[in-house]
Assembly symmetry: D2
């Protein structure tokens, strides 16, 4: 049994981690902590665990909960993980950070987009970017995994096959993304109150969302050169789910069937990535609460463009699910362990 701890267990990604780790056949939860809930039982933060678990949020200094752990999940705000990671590394623990602090090999990128210097640049250079379907081998031996953002996970899984095949023009990529409100975090905000958001669809974060460098950096590895994309995030009145619609010009005429074939062959045997057939379009609820991704595509012969679509659960494959997948890799477990549940539908 892998001994695991969570720091930041009262936010949405933290809560999803608890759910997945408590249900994981090879994991023992040895600690949890949260600035806001120190000393309180898990059920005070999360109604779904009332009566089910007797875990208590640790009191005392931030890493107390991690003492007995082999792997520590950090589900904290940006800039907080890098304060804790050096000591955890020193203590020989594996670290999976769900925030942005360890997603960039170049600490300069972090500083440019998050507005502050990185406090342990050596460590971020050595961290793995935890997107197993694209860079599995880099993850297996890592000490630190920078778990990808939800939008980058969707964008990279959707576009990597066509980028690798040279089928799309990198100068023409436009990404229109739609997320449920859990992606905005648990902190109360007037505009995210139920009565305000209910039945409302809106854009936000234009035109410089912080997930851009992850998307552009990841795609650059497949195109073999730096690229820039337009990225337009929106909020959908639903609790969970990302629907990502990417459009680009084809470099040669191509049918929908060919594009879907290229995508499917790019992910042979991948347990968590499913390419839909040409009669089926993705929908977010098909992957609700899971680590699965469904991909679709349509060629628009009138304009010579292709539309690629990805759906995932922003807290699942977009955060906690992928973090557990990375943990499975780090510890040599079956990669799908604890992650095979299908969506709660309808």
């Amino acid at each position: 049994m892998v001994k695991a701890a969570i720091r930041g267990g009262a936010g949405y990604t933290g809560g999803e981690l608890v759910r997945l780790l408590l249900g994981h056949p090879e994991v023992e939860m040895v600690g949890i902590s949260s600035r806001s809930h120190a000393g309180l039982p898990l059920g005070k933060a999360w109604p779904q665990f009332r009566g089910y678990s007797h875990l208590v949020f640790a009191e005392g200094e931030p890493l107390r909960a991690a003492e007995k752990a082999e792997v520590v999940f950090l589900a904290m705000g940006q800039g907080e993980a890098m304060e804790l990671v050096p000591r955890l590394v020193e203590e020989g623990k594996k670290i999976i950070d769900l925030g942005p602090d360890f997603r960039f090999r170049d600490p300069g990128t972090y500083t440019e987009w998050y507005g502050k210097p990185h406090t342990c640049p050596d460590l971020t250079t050595g961290a793995a970017y935890g997107l197993p379907e694209l860079w599995r081998t880099e993850i297996k031996d890592a000490k630190i995994v920078g778990n990808p953002g939800c939008y980058p996970t969707a964008a990279l899984l959707a576009l990597a096959p066509l980028a690798a095949a040279g089928l799309i023009d990198p100068e023409t990529i436009v990404i229109d993304a739609k997320s449920g409100y859990s992606g905005a975090g648990r902190q109360p905000v007037e505009g995210y109150q139920f009565a305000e958001a209910f039945g409302d669809f809106r854009a936000y974060g234009l035109p410089r969302h912080r997930h851009l460098p992850e998307i552009e950096g990841g795609l650059a590895r497949f195109f073999g050169r730096e690229i820039k994309v337009t990225f337009i995030p929106h909020l959908v009145p639903m609790a969970r789910g990302i629907f990502l619609t990417a459009v680009a010009e084809l470099t040669r005429p191509c049918t929908t069937e060919e594009v879907l074939g290229i995508m499917a062959r790019f992910y042979p045997g991948e347990p968590f990535v499913h390419v839909l057939d040409e009669k089926t379009l993705p929908q977010t609820k098909a992957v609700l609460g899971t680590n699965y991704v469904q991909l679709g595509a349509r060629v628009d012969p009138r304009t010579g463009r292709v539309v690629v679509m990805a759906v995932l659960d922003n807290l699942g494959k977009g955060a906690a699910g992928q973090a557990v997948q990375n943990m499975n890799l780090l510890f040599g477990l079956e990669e799908t362990a604890g992650l095979t549940a299908t969506a709660v539908y309808p």
Copy 2:
């Protein structure tokens, strides 16, 4: 044109008042203020008025916006209106208070349920309880109107006909009420964030909700004696609307048709109260955004009980709509002026 001002224009009832008063053919809005938005244009508080209105929230002391007004609407937290009302009375203005401060003739009731002494008990004794369908004549000549709570409006309109007819046993009344989240106010709260409340149904405020004394006090006038009811409020994942289900034992055998007939005859020609037929059950969206109430009833011959149902919009007939109706009465306008729009459906 009646000159009207609003104090508390950045909360949900305040915003609904703005909407209704701007659309009212006989009203001129002469001022608006809000603690949180002093000096800002209306569109900073309300997206629906962007580009539409050039109103600005007044700066300076709380009553500055009311200077030119003949009628002042107070849409504030409990205990705040009674601080302002004496001066407004002195200045000869009519007052419609949408909070609880002037709903009780007996200031002791206010103190018992709201936990603080009333600072102008003489004024509350003389205020009218603004539920026109039940006590219209009291309202017309009032200087101060205590605008009823949303649940009491629904409960009293639903039960008054049967109470007046002696058809239900006052010892047996159970009220199960369901409200949309706008009823909980605009202040951000973790549990009312979109992601938390979406797809969730819950109870709250048990067993001593502050609307109880209004409900019991109002029904007492029809039963001719003091009564106690059980009142159970719930929150529904929708922005607006109240569905109130009341159950009581019949004092004599009766059919659904008879009950509906008694209810319909109790409200002859009332423009805002519609009693549905025996094939139709109420639904909240039928009255969304309006000042209308729809009532239904079913006799359960197996148990000798009657189920009475009311739907209204908690911000409409349950707050701002009724406040405008009261203003129409105070100023001798057509009672339906500015209030005849039907629901936005679906």
Copy 3:
């Protein structure tokens, strides 16, 4: 491995059964069929299984899919199961029927409430009513389990402790229940279209809902005599979940703490029933997608009544989850096998 088959796999309870059985560690799905989807792959009926499962809905006569099964789940409309069950019994298979056909020991009750004669009255007399927390021993040796309705499961688990303790007056029980739309089935209906139901709360099925005889019959066993209750179902704009609010007069003065204590002691060690403390009220999303039930209660000392609340997932503990729990009992498996996942929240 228990070999299981489903008849009626394209409706909501059928889909939930597939989800649970595919994730069950001790079950092998050997067949599935559906009148509407014969010959089609599972993913045509259910987006959540696309790419995940290669099951195909059987063609041919209705029981073809059940040929290799030891246990057959029937998720069909009323009156359809009783046509198939005699042959399944003959073939020695265990049967779990999720419809109403085998819920009543007295075939006359079935006829009275469902309007047609029972075609195999002998079999229904011998069937077990599958509510394990109340009648576990009856289930273990049954050949046929009549899986309870969603509302009766909630009502009986909520009220049985107080009925058994003689704490509530059986003449005074009023049940106000609220359900998500999946409870209404998958058949398209104009009033259940998204645009109509979204943001709408409504009552339905008054005053003679077909779940009444199950509720009254079950409670009668605890009260030791026949009873009648008032039951008022409503539809909530959410996909899943039941919130049941029951009110009754106490037979003696009692505190909330005492009531909760009695309820908790009634379910000692029950893995799926959690009684909340006096600071916590139930909410449906705490049990979304699970087999758990959360119970709450509040005494209203002003009226001498108690309010008891239950939340469950109508497709989980209210249907497919409970069916799997019953299967576990029938085959001597761990009762919680395949059912320990907690709610997807938020």
Copy 4:
């Protein structure tokens, strides 16, 4: 008073027309009919009119309800209006068709996209395309108005200013649109049932949605040449509202402020079009139930593209609201008559 009739009054656009016309100060409703509701009172089709209106759906042949009308609104399926219009023209009535039959001057376009020959090609050639902010003068003297589709209204209002200014490259336009479910009509469909669509976001209609020729044809008039765009529609779990996000390459460097200035100056004094400032992004609920459009824009200097956004209510400015605006123009009424209500928010 203008005498108006509706054919197709039981669908969503028909219901919205009823709402607007009943509230219009200069209109008298003289007839309504619907294939599905002949002979029934309005309240059987629409809960919001129960107790409010005594209108009855006409029986008999389709145009019976139109006998006394000066203007007839047709809210029918494609291909149905062109069967009725010749006779209405002959009788001297003005016609506003909310379907696609009279939106194209070239009947060949109709045939190409709707798959059937036009039965009165002469009449469609002479019909006006009813988008007043762009082609007001053409509408005033028309006998037949082809009322625009909801997506084209949003797309054309958003992009016309930049197309007219030569600021965007017509070869690079990508439109990602999102609509509430009322846009899909009232006909029951399994996938649009509440339980299926709730909390789900999906794409549909790719890559050849029937609104494309309206969008491309309209833009062609501003670019001065034929163009092709990529159009990707999605369904949002809300009842009403369209959010349209259009992206294009700028033909010269430009700031967000400049773009917004150009847009605002393109619509001087337009009562229904509001261009938001550079700190505000559009949201659909700001225009719920209204005839208003809010426009926003952001330049992405990293890629040289501009993002233009429009929100409107698909049943309001996207259908019935615009139809009433067109009627006002046809009869020389104040263009805003009956259309000044602001959004029901929250």
